[in-house]
Symmetry: C2
Subunit: 334 residues, 2 copies
C-alpha cells in the first residue's frame, strides 16, 4: 500500500482525476485507458479498495442481506427480488447465511461492518437486541423483511393474520368444519409470522361459529420434512379432519407427500391449503392451493426502502403488503 | 482514518497487541476488555478494516462464491455445503448471484477483488476467458464446482457421463426400450454437464442394442417449467415412449407435473428418473427416482480444496466424485 493514486496516474500517463473516475466507475474515459490504468494498478499492487472508494464518495455500492437459510424457496425469492433492484441501481449484494444462529449472525455483522456496506436488509429473522445494538454502532440503514421488531426499524411484512384468516375462510366456505392447522414452533417462531397466522386461523373459526380445539393445531417447524411429520401427528390425534391449513407451502408440500404415503387422497379425502404461493405449488400433484403474499414485491419494496434511506438519509414508512387466494386443485367442496 | 491502532490502545488503556488480538479474534482477553476496545474503536471511528487486517495476517477470512441462480435446489445445497466448511475454519462466505450474465459476473469479480477475498469458488458456470483473466489478476485461489474448464483451474465434478449411463441402464433393465431424454439446451449447456449426460444416455442405449433416435431427445432448459414444456413436446413427437430420463431433477419434477396435467400416470403409464437427487425428490407424488451426485460432498470438497490452497499456496488435484442410484416410486418394470 506504499503507492498512491498519484503514482498510478503518473505511470499510466493520465491524470489522477481519470484514475479516480475509473475507480469509481464514472465513465468519461476509453476502454483502452481503463485497461491501462487497471494494469498499472495491478503492477504497482495499488489497491483501489472499497474502503478507499467509500471515503471518496461515501459509498461502497454494496448492501448486505442476512438470511436464516438458503434452501427455502421463500428466501430464494426474496434474494432474487432484492438482487434485481440492487442491480438496477448499480449496487451489489453480499448474502450472508446465518442459520438463525446468534454467533454466525454477529460474525456476519462484523464482516459487513468491515466491508463497509451502505445498508442492510435482514430477512425472516428475529432482530435480537444484540444484533440491533451492533447495527446501531455500524450506523447503516436497516430494513427488516418479513419480520416484526420491537425496535424502531422499518419493516416490510404481509398481513399474516388476515392472510391466515383468508386461507381458513376458504376451507370453511368449501363446507369444511373439521379443520386442522400445521404451524411452526410457537416458541421459536420465525420473526413473528406464526402467532398472527395461528390467531387468524382461530378468528376465522370463531367468526364462522366453529369451536376452537387446540388439539387441532400442530406446532412443528417449517420445512417439508416437518410437514410430513406434523400431518401424521395431527391425524393421529384428530382422525376426522377433512381440511388442513399449512402455515407455509413447504409444510403444505410435506402434507401432500405424507398423504400420498398414507394412501390418503388429496383433495378427495382431505383438502389442503398452504401459504406463500412459492413457485413449487403449481407443480405439485395435485397443484397446491395457497395464499400469495407477493414475496417478490415485498423484497423489491424492502430493497427500494434501503436505497431510499441510503440516498436521502431519511426515514421510511413501514410497508404492509396485500395477499391473494390462489385456487388450485388441493381443496374441494365437502 | 486519522487514528491508528496506537490511539485506540492508549485510549482503551490496553496494549496495541491486545487491540490487534481483538481485531483478529485471537482470544486471550476478557469480554470486558473486548467491549471497551470496540467502544473506543467506535468512538474514534478507527476502522478495523478487513483490508488492514488482511495486511497484518495476509487474510481476510472471507471467500467468494459465484452462483448462476439462487432458486435452484442444487445451488442451495452447494452453498450450504460450502458455508458449513467455511464456518468450521472460521471464514465467511460472500455469495454473488450472477444470473449467468457476463456483466454481472465481472461486476461481482471486481467487488470480490475490492473486498480482498482469500479465495473464490465458481459453481455451475462456464468459466469464460474474460473471467479467468480477471481472476488471474486478482491472484486468488480458484476452484470450479460442477463445471469443467479449458483453463488450468482445479475442479470438482461428478462423472456426468457415467451417471447418465446408470440412469438409462436402470430404465432399460426395468424392461423399457422406448426411452426419451429431456436435456438442457445443448447450445447453452451449463458448464458442460449436458453433453456428457446426453452421451451417457446414448452409450447406454447403444450398449443394450437399442437404436438411437435423436427425435427422442428434447433439448429445453433446466427449470421445472422447462420440464413441463419439454414433456409435452417430446410426447407429441414420440407418443409411444414408456420411460423418460430427465437430465436434472427439476426437469424431472416438471415431467411429473405435466404427466399429472395430461392424465398420464407415473409410473403406471410412464416411468421417470431424474438426476441430482435434490431434497425435493422424496416428497414428490410419486417420489422421484434419481441418481445422487453427492452434491453436499462435492461442495465440501470444493471448499476443502480452496482452504487448502489458501493455507498452503499449493496446487490441488481435480476431484471427480461418485454417484449412486436412488430408487423410489417413479420407475416400474415394463
Amino acid at each position: 500500500m506504499a503507492y498512491t493514486i498519484r503514482d498510478v496516474a503518473k505511470k499510466a500517463n493520465v491524470s489522477t482525476a481519470t484514475v479516480s473516475r475509473i475507480l469509481n466507475d464514472l465513465g468519461g474515459y476509453s476502454d483502452k485507458t481503463k485497461m491501462k490504468v487497471l494494469d498499472v494498478i495491478q503492477e504497482l499492487e495499488y489497491f483501489p479498495s472499497g474502503i478507499a472508494r467509500g471515503l471518496t464518495n461515501n459509498r461502497t455500492h454494496t448492501i448486505g442481506v442476512l438470511v436464516p437459510n438458503l434452501t427455502s424457496s421463500l428466501i430464494a425469492e426474496f434474494l432474487t427480488g432484492i438482487e434485481s433492484v440492487a442491480h438496477k441501481v448499480g449496487s451489489s449484494v453480499i448474502v450472508c447465511h446465518t442459520e438463525s444462529q446468534g454467533i454466525k449472525t454477529m460474525k456476519y455483522l462484523q464482516l459487513l461492518h468491515e466491508k463497509r456496506i451502505d445498508g442492510l436488509i435482514i430477512a425472516s429473522t428475529v432482530l435480537k437486541e444484540e444484533y440491533y445494538d451492533y447495527i446501531v454502532k455500524m450506523n447503516v440503514p436497516l430494513v427488516l423483511l418479513s419480520a416484526y421488531s420491537e425496535f424502531p426499524v422499518p419493516y416490510v411484512i404481509a398481513n399474516d393474520h388476515q392472510a391466515a384468516y383468508s386461507a381458513t375462510k376458504h376451507l370453511i366456505q368449501n363446507g369444511h368444519s373439521k379443520l386442522g392447522m400445521i404451524s411452526g414452533n410457537k416458541e421459536e417462531w420465525i420473526a413473528g409470522n406464526t402467532i398472527p397466522r395461528v390467531e387468524g386461523f382461530k378468528r376465522a373459526l370463531s367468526d364462522f361459529n366453529i369451536p376452537i380445539d387446540d388439539r387441532c393445531i400442530e406446532y412443528g417447524r417449517f420445512s417439508i420434512e416437518d410437514g410430513v411429520k406434523s400431518l401424521r401427528k395431527l391425524l393421529n390425534r384428530n382422525p376426522d379432519l377433512t381440511a388442513i391449513f399449512a402455515e407455509n407451502d413447504e409444510i403444505g408440500i410435506g402434507v401432500l407427500s405424507a398423504a400420498f404415503e398414507l394412501g390418503i387422497s388429496v383433495p378427495k379425502d382431505i383438502s389442503v391449503i398452504g401459504m406463500d404461493d412459492i413457485n413449487l405449488c403449481k407443480f405439485m400433484n395435485p397443484p397446491l392451493s395457497s395464499i400469495s403474499l407477493s414475496h417478490n414485491e415485498m423484497a423489491e419494496e424492502a430493497a427500494g426502502m434501503i436505497f431510499k434511506m441510503i440516498e436521502s438519509g431519511s426515514k421510511v414508512e413501514n410497508s404492509i403488503l396485500g395477499h391473494q387466494l390462489v385456487e388450485r386443485q388441493s381443496v374441494r367442496s365437502h
